[in-house]
Symmetry: C2
Subunit: 231 residues, 2 copies
């Protein structure tokens, strides 16, 4: 039914993805950008028609989105939950929770290899910043945090992360576009915040790490809130 428009999800991020995954990515982006508004009803048939596929991959996509909490599956049709300012704040709460836990564990491990990997990611971020490669930058930002979570070596934390990772990636894509639009200083600031995070992890002091993670997310949300404020 809806004139749900096919959008700009980076096609390179969809290499090897099934139709179901592709559809979930497109719908997710639509929800994050607000093109699909809270309360809007989605029907399997309607979406299948929009994308020119059968209901099978659509069903899979709707299950996925439901698992991410972006839609609610009701008896008739799925309804968009959406991502208002409050929900984004809550997403950052959870990211902070997960990453705090992960970093706390990391600070008790041999973190030389991880530090090296994170450093390399930051180098590539600076490169991407120089070339104004937004998609690459967003992906690297994402990878930075995912690396931290993965290296913590905790199956359940990993699983929690997996349940929000696509959403986080999509939000990063959208916000990174804004960041680049506000000039190089903003981009440099983002990199700087990551360096601070990395330095605190290198120090290994638990309370320092905890505090640094907290401020990182508080900060990120503050600036994000500003950009998303009018959306």
């Amino acid at each position: 039914m809806s004139g749900a428009t096919r959008m700009l999800y980076p096609s390179s991020w969809l290499r090897g993805a099934s139709l179901g995954e592709a559809i979930s990515c497109e719908l997710r982006l639509g929800i994050v950008t607000g093109k699909l508004k809270p309360g809007e009803k989605l029907s399997e048939n309607g979406i299948a028609a929009d994308f020119g596929t059968s209901r099978s991959p659509v069903r899979e996509a709707l299950r996925t989105l439901s698992g991410e909490g972006l839609i609610r599956l009701e008896r008739m049709g799925a309804v968009v939950v959406g991502l208002g300012a409050e929900e984004v704040r809550e997403l950052y709460d959870v990211r902070c929770l997960i990453e705090s836990f992960a970093q706390e564990r990391l600070s008790r491990m041999d973190r030389e290899p991880i530090l090296a990997r994170l450093e390399r990611i930051l180098d590539r971020m600076e490169l991407a910043a120089k070339h104004k490669d937004i998609e690459e930058f967003a992906l690297l930002d994402f990878t930075f945090h995912e690396t931290i979570v993965e290296e913590a070596n905790h199956s359940r934390i990993r699983q929690l992360w997996r349940s929000i990772r696509q959403l986080v990636l999509t939000v990063m894509l959208v916000t990174t576009e804004d960041v680049f639009g506000e000039g190089e200083a903003r981009v440099a600031a983002v990199i700087g915040k990551h360096r601070a995070l990395l330095d605190s992890l290198r120090s290994g002091d638990e309370t320092e790490v905890r505090e640094q993670v907290r401020t990182y997310f508080a900060d990120s949300f503050a600036t994000l809130d500003h950009t998303l404020g009018r959306a």
Copy 2:
């Protein structure tokens, strides 16, 4: 392929459930009890044949279980990840994390109505204990914790909870059977621990609550580890 046996998942918990949900519950129980061992390969066709259904609901079930981290979806066939002692410990880590967060929020809200609801649940738990109604007891234990998470009124925390709730419920079913097998004292102890939790929540002192939640889960895991030790 496997002689995967249909098991004893409470049929009353499956009222109104779709085939997909039912299958996921049976498989989940099989994994938790160890009837499906880590590394074992599951094929959609095989499971469909075992349950006498088509692949459609099986696919849905496998996606669900994958979302819960109980299996890994690979190119050919899904492989059981399983739930060893370490994984159970990690599950309790996460439950503790979620519930700590939830209680911290609750301690800043008007919690009269929640306290009343929790109290009613405890009353019903004592009743179930008296009648040795294991399934009801497990469900009430589950509901107690779910109520806390739900009432915290945080969409993302709710969503994290949803991603493990079925697993938690299943683990509770299994462990509750053990608890009842060890005599009334153990059952009473479980109720007591919940009362302690509720009292600390009533007190409203944040650090007290935090500490109480931590000891609750440390305790729960210790006893659980003991019973699951030989499994």
